[in-house]
């Protein structure tokens, strides 16, 4: 039974991670045009770094599921895009504005990926729950 619960834990950790990915993608999209951040620089695209976490390896009588966690949220160091817009208050002497290095289609694709993975893990939890339920039916 503990194997099943570790499987649910793993799927739940994935739900957390996918939600974090979604949040990061949303904040990237929201700030796709933010030319001023806290440090006075344009917003930099953020990215989550994922890392797998084996559960209970020392106790495990049976193989337990491998979970996942967000190891870090890093800033994309790619160069800012430059757009000619002399009337913009943040434009430089040549009339160019540095705009965030966010690529909107890329963020949309990332969000879709996160949503699909979230769904798949939710489905996994449902299946594992069904299995636990079936196991309990033996006691009837």
């Amino acid at each position: 039974m503990s194997t099943l619960f570790s499987a649910i834990d793993a799927s739940a950790s994935a739900l957390d991670v996918q939600r974090a990915r979604m949040e990061v993608a949303v904040s990237n999209l929201a700030n796709a045009e933010s030319t001023r951040g806290a440090d006075g620089q344009p917003y930099r695209r953020r990215e989550v770094v994922l890392e797998s976490v084996p559960f209970d390896q020392q106790i495990g009588a049976a193989p337990t599921a491998t979970g996942v966690k967000v190891a870090a949220v890093v800033e994309d160091q790619a160069a800012f895009r430059r757009r000619y817009e002399p009337s913009h208050p943040d434009a430089d002497a040549e009339g160019y504005v540095a705009v965030p290095n966010v690529d909107v289609p890329e963020e949309m694709v990332d969000m879709l990926g996160a949503a699909r993975a979230y769904q798949a893990n939710l489905m996994a939890i449902g299946l594992i729950r069904d299995t636990i339920q079936r196991a309990l039916e033996l006691a009837k």
Partner: protein, 134 residues
């Protein structure tokens, strides 16, 4: 008569092992699915022979000696997951395929369900016998 009882016990133990194995497969598939976006993660799997078939298909029903049962069907109780082979690796070093893992989860759930149904029927029969048919 005694032989039949022993036979029952063998079948029930085999069904129990099938359920354990289904649970382990489910855990491994859930872990793979959780790591569908983890760079460098390799798909894990547990290799199981069709142990129930082996146990029941050949020796069990016709055995004349209790020690015949389970010969060759002794499986590691703690099989270690190994890296699955033959899967296409993506550029980030990850080779988890979502459909494969969902299929594994579903199949394991179905296996578990089937074994549970049969085991419940076996239990009912035993209870029937204990209650002297009442």
């Amino acid at each position: 008569m005694g032989g039949e009882v022993r036979n029952d016990a063998t079948i029930m133990a085999a069904l129990g092992r099938q359920m354990t194995r289904a649970v382990q497969r489910q855990a491994v598939a859930a872990g793979n699915l959780a790591n569908v976006d983890t760079p460098g993660y390799r798909t894990k799997e547990i290799q199981f022979a069709d142990a129930l078939d082996q146990e029941l298909g050949t020796s069990a029903p016709a055995a004349t000696n209790s020690r015949h049962f389970g010969a060759g069907a002794i499986l590691a109780e703690r099989p270690d997951p190994t890296d699955a082979k033959g899967l296409a690796t993506r550029r980030d070093g990850n080779n988890v395929q979502m459909d494969r893992e969902l299929l594994a989860l579903n199949r394991a759930a179905a296996d578990f369900s089937a074994a549970e149904t049969v085991l419940a029927a076996k239990f009912r029969l035993v209870r029937y016998a204990i209650n002297e048919g009442r």
